[in-house]
Symmetry: C2
Subunit: 291 residues, 2 copies
C-alpha cells in the first residue's frame, strides 16, 4: 500500500505521541517534530507508511538514547495477555469451530497497538475480544484459508505486537506446528514483538521463531535479513498480522492472508470495510489470478 496524503498528518501525530511517551524533554519533542516534518517533506509517497514509521522511531531512539522506549509497555502487554490466556484457550476449546474462534481471537489481539492509539486500556482489549467473537467475518475467505493450510508445507506467520503474540500462539496451537515459522522484528520499534517477547510468552517452545533482521513496523522484504528472505521465498502460505504488514505486503505476489483489525480509516477504505472491522483477507494478487 502506498502512502496516502492522509498519512502525513498522522505520521507527525504519531511522532509527537511517541517522543512524548519516551521523554519529557520538550527540546527533544521539538527536535523530533522538526526532523519528522523534514523527513515527511522528502519522503517518496510510493514508499509504504511503515517506512516512514521506521525512520521516525529510529530518530526517537537515536535522539533520546533509549534503545527500546516501549520495553516496559511490551512487558505489561505480554503479562496481561498471558494472564488472559487460559480463559481464551477455554473459549477456543469449547467452541464448535475452534479454528474460526482462534482466528477471531488472533484478530482481537491486534487491538494491542501503540501506533494509531497512544494509550490503551484493559477495557479496550476486553471489548475487542467480545466484538471479535461475534462480529461478521468473511467465511468464504476463512474457507480458502483452511484449504491453504491443508495444502501448504512451509507456513510463515508474521507477528505484530507484544501481547498480541499470545493471541497468535492460541491460533498457532490449532495449526500444523511443524510447518510453521513465526517471525518477529529484528530490532525494537514501537511495541512490535521482538525475540525477547517470543521467549517471554513461550512461543519459542511451541514453534520455530526467527527475527526478520529489520526495524520497520511492518515487513519491508528487501530490507530484511537473508535468513528471512530465504524462508519467505520458500513459503507457500504467509499469515500476516496487523496493519503494518498489510501496508507493506498488500502488493506482494504471494499467497498471503492478512489478519487484522481495521483501526485506521485509510486502511479500512483500502480494504473496503467499515472502520473497526475484523478482517481476514487474501492478498489481491492471488484473487486477481483466480478471477
Amino acid at each position: 500500500m502506498k502512502t496516502y496524503l492522509d498519512c502525513f498528518p498522522c505520521f507527525l501525530k504519531q511522532a509527537l505521541n511517541a517522543v512524548r511517551f519516551t521523554t519529557a524533554d520538550e527540546k527533544l519533542h521539538e527536535k523530533v517534530m522538526h526532523d519528522a516534518i523534514k523527513m515527511a517533506a522528502s519522503m517518496d509517497p510510493r514508499q509504504t507508511p511503515p517506512e516512514m514509521g521506521r525512520q521516525i522511531h529510529r530518530l526517537i531512539r537515536e535522539l533520546t538514547g533509549v534503545a527500546d522506549p516501549y520495553q516496559e509497555v511490551k512487558k505489561q502487554f505480554n503479562d496481561y495477555a498471558l494472564a488472559a490466556e487460559p480463559r481464551l484457550r477455554k473459549i477456543i476449546e469449547q467452541s464448535q469451530k475452534p479454528l474460526e474462534t482462534a482466528v477471531r481471537l488472533a484478530i482481537a489481539g491486534n487491538i494491542i497497538d501503540f501506533g494509531p492509539n497512544s494509550r490503551l486500556v484493559d477495557t479496550q482489549v476486553s471489548e475487542a475480544i467480545e466484538h471479535s467473537l461475534s462480529a461478521p467475518l468473511d467465511t468464504e475467505e476463512l474457507e480458502t484459508f483452511k484449504k491453504s493450510l491443508n495444502t501448504s508445507s512451509v507456513i510463515l506467520y508474521l507477528g505484530d505486537n507484544a501481547g498480541e503474540i499470545v493471541f497468535d500462539r492460541l491460533l498457532i496451537e490449532q495449526l500444523p506446528l511443524d510447518k510453521i515459522t513465526f517471525v518477529v522484528k529484528g530490532y525494537p520499534v514501537i511495541n512490535d514483538a521482538t525475540m525477547s517477547d517470543a521467549i517471554a510468552t513461550g512461543l519459542t517452545e511451541l514453534v520455530r521463531v526467527i527475527d526478520n533482521g529489520h526495524d520497520a513496523p511492518g515487513t519491508i522484504i528487501d530490507q530484511c535479513s537473508d535468513e528471512f528472505k530465504k524462508i519467505y521465498a520458500r513459503a507457500d502460505l504467509v499469515i500476516a498480522k496487523g496493519q503494518g504488514n498489510y501496508e507493506t505486503l498488500s502488493n506482494e505476489d504471494k499467497n498471503i492472508f492478512f489478519l487484522l483489525k481495521a483501526k485506521c480509516p485509510i486502511i479500512a477504505r483500502h480494504l473496503a470495510v467499515e472502520l473497526g472491522s475484523i478482517v481476514i483477507r487474501r492478498n489481491h494478487f492471488n484473487l486477481r489470478a483466480e478471477q
Copy 2:
C-alpha cells in the same frame, strides 16, 4: 498564543481538507500537501497558528485559481443563520437577562467554523445553541464585560465567520450601537466573514463595518491596514470572536474580551477549560495588571 507542536499535524490535516473541498484534482492535493509540509518545516513556532493557516489558504487559492473557495458555503451559512434570526431574537427578548443570553448565542454561533470541522450540519448548530443557553458561563467575567461596556467609548467588535455574524448582530443589538465598529477580514480565507457577508446579513445597516485589510484567519495586527490599526489603537474595548482571534491576540496588552467555543484541545488547555466549553475571557494582560 504560540504555535504548539500539536498544531503541525493539524495544519496538514486542515490543508488536505481545504484543498479537497476546493478541487477534486488529486495532483493539486499532492502539491498543496507537499508545499504545506515545506512551509511547516520552515515555520517559526513563535508565530501564531493563524499565520500558518493564512499561508496554506493563500497557497490553495493561488494553485487552484479559485479566489474564494468557500463563497457558496458562506452564503449557505448566512442564509441559515438569517432564517434562524427571528427565533433567536425572540429568545433574547423573552430572556430575564437579555445581554447574557445574547452573549451566549454569540458564542454558540462560533460553532460555524470550517477550520477544525471540515463538515458541519444543522443539528450541530442547533445543539450548540441548546448547549450555549444552559452551559456554565463565567459570570464574573461577564460582569467585568458589562462594566467595560458602560465605561468604553470606542468599541471594536472583531468578527469571525460568515453565518456567525448574524449571531453577532443579535448581541450588537444589545450594545451601544454608536460606539461600535465591526471588523471583517480584508480578503476571503476559509469561511471567515468579509464585507460582502456583512452587507448580505444587514450588519452594515446596523453599525459601522470596516475590513482589516488582511487575509489571516485571525487578527495579526501589524499586517492589518492603517485604518484598522488606527481604530484598534483608539479602542478602549475589543470584543474578539473565535479561536483565530484568541490565538493571534491573547498576548496583546489591550482590554480584549474573547468570546468563543473551545473546539480545539490545545486552545481549551491554554484557556484551562474543558473541550467544547463556552468561553468569555478577558485577556490575561489586563487580569495581571489588576491582580
